[in-house]
């Protein structure tokens, strides 16, 4: 034990000392082995003696008498032996029993020898290792350097621990990002758009957005032609003041510009007036898309449905306002289309895309509908109905006031508005539908309600609608599409017209 302790202590000393100690241990083991070998030899001799002792009754022997003298004597009772058991214990026993005891002790000695030889081999190997170390580290400096590196490693380990602490935080962030992407930006819509989430989405979907914008432009052109043919009566000068400003803005903001500004708009759009205008534009675009879908592309329809849902879901009051805005926008778009402002339409489409914040809201609503956190899908439908009713009732009413209200609603908490809007929408929805049976608004509301839960969220999230979600939306909306197209057209036209009127 002592040697081992020393060994441990001296491991720190150096390779030389280590080897020396190991050699010491080996030597000690060897000496002990020698001792035990001697003991075992003695026992063997004793065993032999005990074997032959009882052969005769008595032996003539020289009895040691003190250290110097021997006396002749006789050894009698040859079968009677007194054995020292150890610890001053003696036992009188026969030669046979003594032999047993000797055998027992021989076993013990053998064990000791085995153990010693094992330890000796062990330490011999260690000595070899120490020698190798000596040869390998002929320059001891290397060894010291290694120790320094260990110290560095310790510090690194500490850093690692800190990082580990950070990792938990970072992982949740990653998860959140993934969720946002996957869940159609529910959180962003509910909160009014997180800057980080919006930027990520924007980055991902820029190319898609551009493609989308191009498609929307084409669709708008088609819609404008349709509107010219069909909707002449919708053109009114009611929204001229607001629509003119909006139109100008839209015209100024080229589609690419809108796409570029999509990222920032997502985060800041919902609360700012600009965001309101963009929302309206988006709504118009969605409506246009729906109309276009009825004629050509289904993807457009989905986007439209999503936006109304977003508005409704986000805030009941807001939804109401948004709907009114939508109506206004629809009217404007119709007017514009009638006027033949393709550029304005394209801008509207861009705005739709650009107003990802609105989309986020919609998505959020959709998500809410799925997880049922705030409002259920049914509520959203009811809101849609209410919106339709509102549009029908107040479509010709003061757009400016509504816009102002919308702006306020955006800035204010959406949750409170949503509650009130829900109640109102549910009550109003049935009435509104009958009031405007032929209007496109009614058809829109119905279609929107059905489409909203699933398809709306997906396309908005990705901005560039993936093929799958769009298809789903089409399928869901197949029944209502006919009704949908007419509604958006008049609203859009109204906006355009209003803008033109204002300009004039």
């Amino acid at each position: 034990m002592a040697e081992k302790g020393k060994m441990n202590i001296e491991h720190l000393g150096g390779v030389f000392r280590l080897r020396e100690e190991h050699e010491k241990v080996v030597k000690d083991c060897e000496s002990r082995i020698q001792h035990w070998k001697k003991v075992s030899g003695d026992y063997e001799a004793l065993n032999e003696r005990l074997k032959t002792l009882p052969d005769r009754l008595c032996y003539d022997i020289m009895v040691p008498f003190g250290p110097l003298a021997f006396m002749p004597g006789k050894l009698q009772r040859t079968n009677e032996v007194t054995v020292l058991l150890g610890d001053n214990w003696f036992a009188k026993c026969s030669a046979k029993q003594a032999q047993k005891i000797v055998d027992h002790r021989m076993k013990y000695v053998k064990n000791e020898l085995d153990e010693l030889s094992k330890t000796r081999e062990n330490f011999e190997a260690r000595v070899g290792f120490a020698k190798d170390l000596e040869t390998i580290s002929a320059s001891k400096g290397d060894y010291v350097d290694i120790r320094e590196e260990v110290g560095n490693n310790d510090s690194a380990v500490a850093k690692g621990k800190q990082r580990i602490a950070h990792k938990p935080n970072s992982q949740p962030k990653r998860d959140a990002v993934l969720d946002v992407k996957e869940d159609d930006e529910e959180e962003d819509g509910g909160q009014g758009g997180d800057g980080g989430g919006g930027s990520r989405r924007g980055v991902l979907t820029e190319q898609e957005l551009w493609a989308r914008l191009d498609e929307l432009e084409k669709l708008e052109e088609l819609q404008e032609e349709q509107d010219r043919l069909s909707d002449n009566a919708d053109m009114n000068g009611e929204d001229t003041s607001t629509s003119s400003s909006e139109e100008e803005k839209e015209a100024d903001a080229a589609p690419p510009v809108n796409g570029v500004s999509l990222k920032p708009s997502w985060s800041a759009a919902p609360r700012s007036k600009a965001s309101l205008s963009t929302d309206r534009k988006q709504a118009d675009c969605e409506e246009e898309e729906e109309e276009e879908e009825g004629s050509c592309l289904p993807t457009i329809f989905f986007s439209h449905t999503v936006e109304p849902k977003k508005v409704r879901i986000n805030t009941g009051k807001n939804t109401m306002l948004k709907f009114s805005e939508r109506k206004e926008q629809k009217e404007h778009s119709k007017r514009k289309k009638k006027n033949g402002h393709n550029n304005g339409h394209s801008h509207h489409e861009l705005h739709k895309i650009t107003t990802p914040a609105d989309i986020y809201r919609v998505f959020v609503d959709v998500r809410n509908g799925e997880p049922v956190p705030r409002k259920s899908i049914l509520k959203s439908r009811s809101r849609e109905n209410s919106v339709c009713s509102d549009t029908s009732e107040s479509s010709a009413a003061d757009f400016d006031e509504r816009r102002v209200m919308i702006g306020r609603s955006f800035s204010h908490d959406e949750a409170t508005h949503s509650d009130t809007s829900d109640g109102v929408t549910e009550e109003d929805s049935p009435v509104a539908v009958p009031l405007q049976p032929t209007s496109r608004f009614e058809a829109f509301s119905g279609t929107v309600i059905e489409k909203d839960p699933m398809p709306s969220g997906v396309p908005h999230l990705t901005i560039s609608p993936p093929a799958l979600p769009t298809i789903l939306e089409r399928k869901q909306e197949e029944a209502p599409p006919d009704l949908v197209p007419p509604q958006p057209a008049p609203k859009r036209v109204s906006k355009f017209k209003a803008a033109r009127l204002q300009q004039k």
């Binding site: 150890g86 003696f90 036992a91 009188k92």
Partner: protein, 123 residues
């Protein structure tokens, strides 16, 4: 400055050597106990091999005192218990002492560094 540190270092080194002696003493005592344990174990095993026809003696001083076999077995058993207890006691003591030694060694190394610094300052 260096002298003061040196004296302190010397005193600490003496203390440390004393502690080391204590440690080695208890170590040897423990080793003795270990050998006694093995010896008594052997005795016990060999007593088990004997029967009532054998007479057992205990050497007390210069005299062999006759003992009963069962009695001898009981005493050997008690002795074994005692030795085991002693070994455990020494184990704990040794641990304590080694801890102290470790602390003292650290103190010594710090003192040594101080002394070397002082030497460097004076030099």
């Amino acid at each position: 400055m260096a002298d003061g540190v040196y004296k302190k270092l010397q005193a600490e080194v003496e203390k440390y050597t004393r502690m080391q002696k204590d440690v080695s003493k208890s170590m040897s005592a423990r080793q003795k106990l270990e050998t006694q344990l093995t010896e008594n174990n052997i005795v016990k095993e060999e007593l088990d091999q004997l029967d009532s026809t054998n007479t057992i003696y205990k050497l007390i001083g210069p005299v062999l005192v006759k003992q009963d076999l069962d009695e001898a077995k009981a005493t050997v058993g008690k002795r074994l218990e005692y030795i085991n207890g002693e070994i455990q006691r020494y184990e704990t003591v040794l641990k304590d002492m080694e801890k102290k030694c470790e602390q003292h060694r650290e103190l010594l190394t710090s003192l040594q560094q101080e002394y070397q610094k002082a030497q460097g300052m004076t030099a």
